[in-house]
């Protein structure tokens, strides 16, 4: 085969980053097995939730785009509870996946930590926006 396979350069851990936190988020210093396991578990849950959600919102042309139907769905505490969980594990699974892709590339510690920070902050903000939409929904508002 014509492809060259280069050995990964051996880095001196002391030169990569002086800060222990920076090092731990920039290189594979931890096993990552819990994250791997959670990614499978949340993924299997999301197969049911996402495919179900997509079909529920599209099985007829108005089901996902009509205010009355949306309000009647959101009147059910079961629906609310499931969707709070859906938003949370969906965002966790998605952002864990993005971080997983980012970790496949060799980044400077500061860059890796910055991306990790952006991912965490964006996730928290948008889970908050989603929860706020569900919990403060008022069907009587004109």
């Amino acid at each position: 085969m014509a492809l060259d396979v280069q050995a990964a350069p051996v880095l001196d851990p002391e030169k990569v980053g002086s800060n222990r936190l920076v090092r731990s988020y920039s290189r594979a210093r931890r096993s990552g097995a819990p994250a791997w396991w959670l990614q499978r578990v949340t993924g299997l849950a999301l197969v049911v939730l996402t495919v179900g959600h997509y079909i529920l919102m599209h099985y007829n042309p108005v089901s996902g785009h009509d205010y009355g139907e949306t309000a009647s769905r959101l009147a059910s505490p079961w629906f609310k509870g499931i969707y709070l969980g859906f938003i949370t594990i969906g965002m966790y699974h998605g952002l864990q996946g993005i971080w997983n892709i980012v970790r496949d590339y060799k980044l400077k510690p500061a860059v890796g930590l910055t991306i990790f920070g952006i991912i965490v902050v964006a996730g928290i903000i948008f889970v908050g926006v989603g929860w706020n939409t569900i919990l403060t929904f008022d069907p009587t508002k004109p």
Partner: protein, 166 residues
């Protein structure tokens, strides 16, 4: 003693019984056969050479791309639906945009991303947690068959007004 190299089922053999102008060609295309001992001339050709031999490699790339697309969509989705907190008028005005034909086509294509990522995700879970590594190619075929069937079915549901209007 002779050593005979028997390629695994579905893998490219060490040498292909093809004429030299095919095996040694300098042009690369995804439709072309496997070309050993030939330096590819661009990064894209390297990628195609490395990936096209294995359906699982393409599934890996597609899983990443659809995953990135779905995360981008998830942010847009949560942000757009926050209009529910501003009342009925704001929501209905927004839905006027999203029920226009271009957006409906986009929603249908979004379903293709969802179905591939979901069904290929099941495949990954079976490979990782079960014995799926023994039959992952058959699983990938099933992913495509079920995925295409669901996406085509959703076309008739999403566009039912346009298709079956009286």
């Amino acid at each position: 003693m002779t050593l005979e190299i028997i390629p695994e089922k579905g893998h490219a053999p060490a040498t292909l019984p093809l004429p030299n102008f095919v095996n040694g060609a300098t042009w690369i295309s995804p439709l072309m056969s496997y070309t050993p001992n030939r330096e590819p001339f661009s990064a894209w050709n390297k990628l195609i050479l490395a990936y096209r031999r294995y359906s699982g490699s393409w599934a890996y790339i597609l899983h990443r791309l659809t995953g990135i697309g779905l995360v981008v969509y998830l942010f847009i989705h949560i942000w757009a639906l926050s209009s529910l907190t501003r009342g009925r008028a704001a929501f209905m005005q927004e839905m006027q945009t999203f029920t226009s034909p271009p957006w409906k086509v986009a929603e249908w294509l979004l379903g293709a991303l969802v179905m591939f990522h979901a069904f290929n995700g099941i495949r990954i879970a079976i490979v990782d947690l079960g014995s799926g590594a023994r039959y992952h190619k058959k699983l990938l075929a099933a992913v495509w068959v079920v995925g295409v069937a669901v996406v085509v079915g959703m076309f008739f549901l999403i566009f039912s007004t346009e298709l079956f209007a009286k």
